[in-house]
C-alpha cells in the first residue's frame, strides 16, 4: 500500500453489517471466522459493526423469507450511502435449495439491487474476504459517482416450483 492510501483512502476502512434473512446459520459460521485470528479481516480495515447506520457493506445471508422480508427491507433502507450489498451463499444469491418455495419472497436481488454475489454453500471465508476486498473498488466508484446502479434481477424461474 502506498503512503497516500494508508493515510487518505476512505476505502481502507470498511464496516460490515450482517443480516440473516432466513439462513441456516451455515454462512454465519463461515462469516464469523473472518474476524478471528486465522483470517483476520481487520488487517484490511474491515470491522464488524452492530448497527446498519454505521455500515458500509451489508452481508445478506439466506433466501428472503416472507417473514423476514419486511425487516430486511427496513434495515437496508437505513444504511447510509455509499454502501454495497453482498449476497452470501447459494440461498442469498438465488434461493438455493429453497428456490421456488411458497414461503420465500424471492432471492434478495429481486427486491433490492445487489452489487456482489459470493457463490457456494456455504462459501469459504476466503471467498467472503475476496468479496469484501472487491467491495472496496465498488465503494470507490460509488464515491466518485461512476458506478452504474444495478437493476433488479428478474429471475422468472425463481418464483415457480420446478420448471
Amino acid at each position: 500500500m502506498s503512503l497516500w492510501s494508508l493515510l487518505f483512502d476512505p476505502e481502507n476502512s470498511i464496516w460490515v453489517y450482517r443480516i440473516n434473512a432466513g439462513s441456516c446459520n451455515g454462512c454465519e459460521i463461515e462469516i464469523t471466522p473472518l474476524f478471528t485470528p486465522r483470517y483476520d479481516a481487520e488487517r484490511f480495515g474491515i470491522k464488524w459493526v452492530g448497527t446498519p447506520r454505521h455500515a458500509d457493506v451489508v452481508l445478506v445471508t439466506g433466501p428472503v423469507t416472507a417473514v423476514a422480508k419486511e425487516s430486511v427491507m427496513e434495515v437496508l433502507s437505513q444504511v447510509p450511502d455509499p454502501h454495497v450489498v453482498i449476497a452470501v451463499g447459494s440461498c442469498g444469491v438465488s434461493g438455493g435449495v429453497f428456490r421456488g418455495s411458497y414461503a420465500l419472497e424471492g432471492p434478495l436481488d429481486n427486491l433490492y439491487p445487489v452489487d456482489l454475489y459470493v457463490l457456494g454453500c456455504p462459501p469459504k471465508p476466503e471467498g467472503i474476504l475476496t468479496a469484501l476486498l472487491e467491495a472496496k473498488k465498488i465503494l470507490k466508484a460509488k464515491r466518485k459517482g461512476q458506478y452504474q446502479e444495478k437493476p433488479l434481477v428478474v429471475d422468472p424461474a425463481g418464483m415457480v416450483m420446478g420448471r
Binding site: 476512505p10 481502507n12 458500509d56
Partner: protein, 300 residues
C-alpha cells in the same frame, strides 16, 4: 502571540496523535490475540471514511440534544487534552471537564428513541455513578498529598511516585478507573458493540460518529497523559525530551491499562461492574483519604 500559535498547532496535531494512539492500541490488541492487525493509521482512516459518508438520522431526532451532546463530548475530551499536554490549568476544572465528556455521551444517546440507545444511556449512567466517585477520590488524594491544585504547580525534582509514596493509592485508583473512563471491553457495558449495538451511538453515523470516535480516542490520550504527569514524569524534563518521554510513557500505559485488561477479561454485566466499582476502588479511595488525612496531621 507565540503562545497562540503553539495552541493552534497543538489543537490540530493532538487529535491526530490521539487517533494514532487508538490505532496503536488496536494493533497491540491484535498482536496479543495472535493476529496481524490493522495498520496503525486505521483509526485515522475510519475517521476520514466517516467524514465522507452521508448522514441518515431518524425523523424524530432531537437535534438540539444531539448537537449539545456532541459538543460536550468533544469539549470534554479536547480541552483536557490540550490542558494536560500544555501542563496548564486547574486539576478540579479538569475533573469537571472529564465528567462533562461522559455527560455528552448521555445527551447524545437521549436524543433518539431507539431502545438500544436508551439502554446504553441507562447503563452508561450507572457506570458513571459507580466509577466517577473513585476518579474524584483519586484527584482529591493527589491534591492532598502533593499540595498542588494546578497542573503547572505539580512539579517535583524526581518522579512523583518516588518522592511521595502515598501517591501509590490514587495511582492504583486511576488504573482501576481508566478502562471504565475510556470505555474498553471489560467495563464498556454502555457501548457494547455486540450486545446493544454501541448503545448511545446506535443511531448516529457519518460525521457525528466521527466526532464521537475522535472524542473517545482523545479522552484516552488525555487520561493517559494525566496519569503520566501526576505520577510518573519528573518536572525537570522539558522541551523535546518532555514530548518524547510523555509519548513513550503514554504508550506503555495504554498497553498495560487498556490492551492487556481488554484482552485478559471478557465483558462483564452491569450489576457486576457496578458492584466492583462500588466496593474495591471506593474502599481504596476512602481508606486512602483517611490515611492521607491522618498522615498530614502528623506532619508528613
Amino acid at each position: 502571540m507565540n503562545i497562540y500559535i503553539t495552541y493552534i498547532v497543538l489543537g490540530l496535531l493532538l487529535p491526530l496523535v490521539a487517533l494514532l494512539y487508538d490505532g496503536i492500541e488496536r494493533k497491540m490488541t491484535a498482536r496479543i490475540q495472535g493476529r496481524v492487525g490493522p495498520p496503525i493509521t486505521q483509526s485515522w482512516l475510519d475517521f476520514v471514511k466517516l467524514l465522507t459518508k452521508k448522514v441518515k438520522l431518524p425523523e424524530d431526532t432531537n437535534m438540539l440534544m444531539l448537537f449539545s451532546g456532541l459538543v460536550l463530548m468533544f469539549a470534554g475530551a479536547f480541552i483536557p487534552l490540550i490542558m494536560v499536554f500544555m501542563r496548564k490549568g486547574d486539576l478540579i476544572l479538569l475533573m469537571y471537564l472529564m465528567v462533562g465528556g461522559t455527560l455528552g455521551i448521555l445527551l447524545t444517546g437521549l436524543a433518539f428513541r431507539s431502545p438500544y440507545s436508551r439502554v446504553g444511556v441507562s447503563r452508561e449512567m450507572q457506570m458513571a455513578f459507580a466509577y466517577e466517585i473513585s476518579f474524584i477520590f483519586a484527584i482529591v488524594i493527589t491534591i492532598m498529598v502533593t499540595g498542588c491544585r494546578t497542573l503547572e504547580a505539580c512539579s517535583a525534582s524526581s518522579i512523583p511516585l518516588i518522592k511521595w509514596p502515598l501517591l501509590l493509592i490514587p495511582f492504583i485508583l486511576f488504573l482501576f478507573v481508566a478502562p471504565a473512563k475510556v470505555g474498553v471491553v471489560p467495563v464498556d457495558i454502555g457501548e457494547a458493540e455486540s450486545e446493544i449495538a454501541e448503545g448511545p451511538f446506535v443511531e448516529i453515523g457519518g460525521r457525528y460518529l466521527a466526532i464521537a470516535k475522535l472524542s473517545k480516542s482523545m479522552k484516552m490520550l488525555a487520561l493517559m497523559q494525566l496519569i503520566t504527569l501526576l505520577y510518573l514524569l519528573p518536572a525537570g524534563v522539558t522541551g523535546v525530551w518532555y514530548w518524547i518521554a510523555s509519548f513513550v510513557i503514554d504508550g506503555v500505559l495504554v498497553f498495560f491499562t487498556i490492551s492487556v485488561v481488554r484482552n485478559a477479561a471478557s465483558r462483564i454485566k452491569i450489576d457486576q461492574a457496578v458492584k466492583f466499582y462500588a466496593t474495591v476502588p471506593l474502599a481504596i479511595g476512602i481508606i486512602g483519604l483517611v490515611i492521607v488525612y491522618l498522615m498530614r496531621g502528623w506532619g508528613m
